[in-house]
Symmetry: C2
């Protein structure tokens, strides 16, 4: 360790939101640190802030500029908010990717979708296997979460040991994957000089009770499913392979044939089976067979726990899906929680089922779902177990990170609330903020990546709020208006409060203006457009109370 | 009661959603029933389904067509979802309006805002005062809710007694207004032949525990507020005058001066004071004085419990508001629940406060908020007390109405799940659905009322999702293209995946097409527009993966 070398941490996504995780560690001379990236995830758009957008991910311009400094990318687990942007962003950084087998299988699908090379991802076994990436030595440590083979990373650097928790919970009986192993964590805490930095999941920091095990769901789910008279349809997160197994086993135990609907679920089950994660999943039947089964002998497990419009649950809420449909007396079970912001979609599905006479069971009582993240007491247990010098809270909104810092500081751990873009120097005993990197969000919009602040989405929101008026003018060779202006409305009432035609009224005002406009305005496209916009907005405001977006197209005839 | 007369019920809003309440009762010969309307409320728009819309209310076309049959409008209480559309819709029906004093004060403001006459609203005292409206005799019965002077209606008709619950809870100590009076309800149940129909609030039918009293909040709120070192800012629904009082008293008891921020709150307090509902509200200070107070001697009570962008809480989350601002060590209290769908806005405010170092306290534990609606056991208590022959569940989404029916039917009460537009004949012992009325939603958009299905909002949503391309063409006197087509983009990436200019690429394709287009297409505006749209969409899809909305403006030069 040269005296000029430093160890840095830079979150680009996930610190200040739950989603689009992307974390960077660096070691070396200031400004020339060698870098590793942990996770490249996405978050999902909404109508309010990002209408029409397909996916949201971190703006990695800084990484792209420093691509030659990047030693490796590590993916902790296969959830979309950790791996979903890999295929989209990899071309900008082109470093080798390391992951455990199941995660690698999903990551490969992401690479394939975007036409990237498939030999980039290297499968790593759990600790003690170690990846050497420049000055970093990295081990994958199995942790429990709501997807198979989730991992924490033990990152050894010349400046000390970092534990990057990934997403985790403490579960002694996780159904699929390795149980929480306190001995292994004890070892990690006590090797050498111990843990310098814990970068830690903050999702459930506000949940006051210890987390519950995945295994605690088996009995209540079996009881519920066995008690139903009609068809049972259950939904959960497609990637929660343990839950899928518990649900399927409960269905089978109740004498029901199980059929799984939804592409995301099939993809996960296939990856889990192919990578040996899942060995004894109950037999399932295809939809063609399910259609023939008596309802009380059938259970469907479907995608769409968040009310997503295209998922199987929403399709069933609208009618037939692959020949199957819900009927009076059937039961629909949400073995999931609603992520804040998705309430409207979920409630829409619930009411559609209610209209069909289907009984909806949700997780109101906590019987049919457990979280995949460590609750506050579990976070504290991990603090106590690892005794880090420094805590960096991640995977949380600002309020989660702040609360997590508060808990750590109460325990005498130096904690730093570093949001996306903050460069933290971890070389000394205390974290130091040394720089802020320009960062933000990148949108996948159709097939192009655009910046969140490019103005594209802002214009969409404005059109959605205000409507859009297009005015078309022709100016002749002598800079005189030729014919009348033509106005088209989109997203605006055609009729005014007084029953007149709005487009006609605007056209009349614009034409009156054009008839008397100064030559210097008529000669100047920008001035003319400004004047016409003003008139359009004024008439609209008076007549219908709206100030629309306006596009003026001026066509100029040129002397031939 | 002539043998041909019938008693009918027709919900136009509120039965199938929580919001925009509007219920109709009729009595008389079929098709000629005399009518009364109960409540004319609004619901609030969202970006997903109604971008740019100001307010949503029931489509009352049917009432407007039958305006001459309407005897009266009754408003149960002054919440927006019960009175918010009165000023906007009254001109279509022009019947006298009846309400209790506080409700009438708010209703008058609604009438005034829309320039309606102000002598329309008549103030009614509680039962035994009775309004005769055609064949109906109507009494207002005080009930507890989260706003002063909420009322149930006892509606006597020749076919029997209807109790229309309005919004209510069972509260023996409501702080403001009359406590729940079991004797009065016993009387109502036992006069004459008892209650034929109970039309009943269903909001909290899924809440399994008995509701808690408003008075139960005083101690925990006082304790919390007294314990804070910095400024305390509390938010709740502006109309919850009892809560405002409890909060203000807790602030005063903690030695703090209290300042109220937000127009909606002032309006409510003024109306409550002027109508004598509120007699001993603690003294408050204006913002100019509050600015001068030491922080630990100050408490603000502000609007914006739902994270509304323009309310005081969101303004404080963004910075200064009327000279006041939040600082590290201050506390912000949500004495409210987040209405499903508003989570994103509330969380945005919470995180903004977290960034300022402000501690946010919400109702997670149930200590600082109670609901204004009857929970399931309370609903059952009312069923048992009134023993109606027929239950009509209202004020709920489909799933709430369905559950409410289920409970009633288990008790042997005939229940009918009648959603908006359903005409139910209540003449006999069992409810009978006899007709469906065309119904739906009306939007206030700027200053005009538009139909939800007019296409205006659909076009906005499409522009928001897909972007908008305008193509402008000039066709000369000989039906030949004059010059090149001109394309403008709005809400679309200007640059394609390969770095080219999208507008240029579209123009090139359109111009190539125009150069070889058949005469019959060039002569026909519709065919031409169709062809150009197809080209625009195809190029956009190939180059950026989007299928935009397209407006084609064709200007034709005419021989002079």
């Amino acid at each position: 360790m040269s005296s000029k070398d430093r160890l840095i941490y830079l979150p680009l996504g996930g610190a200040g939101e739950i989603g689009m995780n992307a974390y960077v560690y660096g070691y070396g001379p200031s400004g020339k640190e060698r870098l590793i990236v942990v996770d490249l995830g996405v978050t999902f758009p909404d109508m309010e802030t990002s209408p029409g957008v397909d996916l949201i991910m971190a703006d990695i311009a800084w990484l792209a500029e420093n691509a030659n400094r990047i030693e490796a990318i590590f993916i902790t687990h296969a959830h979309e908010d950790h791996v979903g942007a890999l295929g989209l962003l990899w071309p900008q950084i082109k470093a080798p990717v390391y992951a455990r087998a199941f995660t690698a299988a999903i990551a490969n699908l992401k690479m394939e979708e975007q036409g990237n090379p498939l030999d980039v991802i290297r499968v790593v076994k759990p600790r003690p296997e170690t990846v050497e990436a420049g000055p970093f030595k990295v081990q994958f440590v199995p942790v429990s979460h709501s997807i198979p083979e989730s991992a924490a990373l033990v990152i050894d650097t010349p400046a000390g040991r970092i534990v990057h928790s990934g997403d985790f919970k403490l579960d002694g009986t996780p159904i699929v994957g390795e149980p929480f192993d306190p001995n292994q964590w004890h070892e990690i805490a006590n090797e050498g000089v111990g843990v310098k930095v814990l970068t830690c999941d903050s999702t459930n920091v506000f949940s006051p009770l210890p987390g519950r095990s995945e295994a605690s769901l088996a009995a209540p789910l079996s009881e519920l499913i066995a008690a139903q008279e009609g068809m049972v349809v259950a939904t959960t997160f497609a990637s929660n392979v343990a839950r899928l197994k518990t649900l399927a086993e409960a269905g089978r135990a109740a004498g029901r044939s199980v059929c799984m609907l939804g592409r995301a679920m099939k993809k996960m089950i296939t990856a889990a089976a192919e990578t040996g994660v899942l060995t004894d999943f109950p037999a399932v039947i295809p939809p063609e067979e399910a259609v023939e089964m008596p309802r009380r002998k059938l259970m469907l497990i479907v995608t769409g726990s968040q009310g997503e419009r295209r998922a199987a649950s929403a399709q069933l809420a609208r009618g037939k899906y692959l020949g199957l449909e819900m009927k009076e007396g059937d039961t629909f079970l949400f073995s999931s929680k609603t992520i804040p912001g998705n309430e409207r979609g979920v409630i829409r599905v619930m009411n559609a089922f209610s209209e069909m006479g289907v009984d909806v069971v949700d997780d109101r009582g906590g019987l049919y779902h457990v979280s995949g993240h460590a609750n506050r007491p579990d976070l504290e247990a991990v603090h106590d177990l690892l005794r880090p010098k420094i805590l960096l809270p991640m995977h949380g909104e600002h309020r989660h990170l702040r609360e997590h810092c508060r808990i750590a500081i109460e325990k005498g751990i130096a904690a730093e609330l570093a949001v996306n873009g903050t460069v933290v120097d971890l070389t000394g005993d205390e974290p130091k903020v040394v720089e802020y990197i320009e960062t933000g969000r990148t949108y996948l919009d159709g097939s192009v990546l655009i910046g969140a602040l490019d103005g594209v989405v802002r214009d969409r929101i404005r059109m959605a709020l205000n409507g859009h008026v297009m005015a078309s003018l022709i100016i002749d060779e002598d800079d005189e208006p030729l014919g009348d202006a033509w106005v088209e409305l989109k997203g605006l009432s055609e009729t005014t409060r007084r029953g007149a035609d709005l487009a006609d009224m605007i056209e009349a005002e614009v034409n009156e203006y054009l008839g008397s406009a100064a030559d210097k305005v008529l000669r100047d496209d920008d001035k003319l457009a400004e004047a016409v916009k003003r008139i359009v907005r004024q008439v609209s405001l008076e007549e219908i109370g709206k100030k629309p977006e306006v596009t003026v197209v001026t066509s100029r005839l040129v002397a031939e």
